[in-house]
Symmetry: none
Subunit: 352 residues, 2 copies
DNA sequence: GAACTGACAA
DNA sequence: TTGTCAGTTC
């Protein structure tokens, strides 16, 4: 049986609000180490990875590994019925195909339980490489959200450009062009207001603002956001879930025809090459839970990790002109617990 | 002539917001004892009864009994033009077919008057029995509203089940099932937070959430709501209007095929039998104003009233399979002041 | 005081 | 379904 209890139920509500717009259905993986989810967004362009470690819960019990397929909008609907101060308990008995959400009001006068049917969702467990990133930006999450929202009213894409001096967000559209520069600033009163840039190499990448704005739904979860970038690697936008884990969003950059130092100049004028998000499924031995458990001890989760000798699982590069998507829908790879799926799956970026 | 003056004009605004969505046109009955309204909702399933006693007004004058037919949405429209702190005066001269709403701003700097034509509305004065209820729940109105709203996202109907321990609200739908249990709790800091259950007999009834959610529009009027239930009687949902009277909503329960102790089990799976709301008009001698005038002295308005030897005027029971509505629209019974109408009117529940 | 969210009306 | 509004929160 599986049971978890979270006193600060609002955390779970926020987590679901953060991903329900991006992903329709997803498998939650429950193991003794924690509660996690990995899923591509419904247009198969972005990827969400959620981890809530067992230590973060007041009570956590998971007798055997368990995959629960659920519709995220439905979970969110039910969690909306929980008060912000409610204690949330999630239960799944072995052998049943339902999960129960229990909400206890702080006064214990009102106890609600919501039962939901589990779904059978075909999905591979995606391999996400622990890459070394050329630039990592840490900044107030609200500021990042504001920038993405503001730039959306100018254009559809943002060019993020990191130099030693700071990070520049640029957009360009019919009504004009915008540049927002944030300077590194570690000398603030409150650490959550800091903007810190760790840079090995200057990086300039272009992204669809539509997805960035989806990512910023997680802003209420954390004061700070971490944006990790390398040329030709998907950006990672990470929000910590206090004391429990994280939500990470991955998004492949749009490819420029030629690399330009002056990025803003042609940002919207030239058509971007299509971007392919290549995902390889790998044997699911839960390495993610292990690796990430370290990430809160050191505040730079990905930058200083040693280059792994693993294959590059998540990468993006220019598509041949006529290349077609190999898989245009849900990859039909069974991923029962313990089953090793090694097929390579390539997912076409439809309309980023 | 008729004239009333209410310093706390926001009360009247809230009252009209509470009923305008349920009822289109209605007759307001003005007598020396107060200002009242009884009307079925536009689909003839629910019934609203409003009473504002003359003592509640700063000034109240009613020379002779008077029925004013008005469109509630139009009144609400006009009242929206009044500030929340405005003093409201309503005037109707004899022999005219208009009513005037006057709004004085607190500073007296702005005085508005709105004139409205009265309508001739055919409607019987409905007889509402003073029944004895098997269970009466008193709880915070906001909590009741929250429960109805939450359950609406799960299903269309709510099963309300009262036992000594508390009251359970259940719903069931495509995405799952929900149970919300509220325990009796009289030992709270503020009396308006109390949940109190007076129960002679356990009761379980099923209602359409759509109507319940309409009723909760009255939530701003009162901190507490009273829900009175008996098997096979319409539920009464009552909100007090501070110092003046009340709004009561009546709704016939959906009939279960069989009475079940475990209600939730079949809540949504079996089609409910149609419910007929049988209303008998009776000579209008304003007994309601009399009776209800007592209801604030004792806080249990309906429960402890002696069983009356009146005919059961508002009842519901299963319809024969092919029975047709005898009256499918507005009952065409003239109800001029003082005229005694005794025809029996049966109104079909269309699609609760 | 500003921004966000949820509720309501068109 | 969308736009607006008010309440709430930070």
């Amino acid at each position: 049986m599986f049971e978890l209890r979270l006193v600060q139920g609002s955390l779970l509500k926020k987590v679901l609000e953060s991903i329900k717009d991006l992903v329709n259905d997803a498998n939650f993986d429950c193991s003794s180490t924690g509660f996690s989810l990995q899923a591509m967004d419904s247009s198969h362009v972005a990827l969400v990875a959620l981890l809530l470690r067992s230590e973060g819960f007041e009570h956590y019990r998971c007798d055997c590994n368990l995959t629960m397929g659920m519709n995220l909008a439905n979970i969110a609907k039910m969690l909306k019925c929980a008060g912000n101060d409610d204690i949330i308990t999630i239960k799944a008995d072995d052998g049943t195909d339902t999960v129960t959400f229990m909400f206890e009001s702080p006064s214990q006068d009102k106890i609600s339980d919501f039962e939901m049917k589990l779904m059978d969702i075909d999905s591979e467990h995606l391999g996400i490489p622990e890459a070394e990133y050329e630039a990592i930006i840490r900044m107030p999450s609200a500021e990042f959200a504001r920038i993405c929202r503001d730039l959306s009213s100018i254009g559809d894409t943002v060019v993020i450009s990191v130099t030693k001096e700071g990070v520049r967000f640029s957009a360009r559209g019919d009504i004009g062009a915008a540049n927002i520069v944030c300077r590194q600033n570690a000398t603030v009163d409150k650490p959550e207001d800091a903007t810190i840039i760790e840079m090995q190499e200057p990086v300039t990448l272009t992204f669809a603002l539509r997805y960035m704005n989806s990512f910023t739904k997680a802003t209420p979860l954390a004061e700070q956001v971490t944006i990790s970038m390398s040329s030709d690697l998907p950006v990672v936008v990470e929000y910590k879930v206090a004391g429990m884990g994280y939500i990470r969003y991955y998004l492949a950059p749009k490819i420029e025809e030629e690399e330009e130092e002056e990025v803003a100049a042609h940002a919207q004028t030239k058509p971007k090459a299509e971007t392919k998000l290549k995902v390889e499924t790998k044997p699911k031995v839960e390495p993610e839970l292990m690796e990430v458990a370290e990430d809160e001890k050191e505040s730079k989760p990905l930058a200083e990790s040693k280059p792994k000798e693993e294959p590059q699982l998540l990468e993006c590069h220019k598509l041949d002109e006529e290349s077609k998507p190999l898989v245009d829908g849900k990859p039909k790879v069974e991923n029962k617990l313990g089953a090793s799926t090694n097929g390579e799956i390539e997912i076409m970026d439809i309309e980023q």
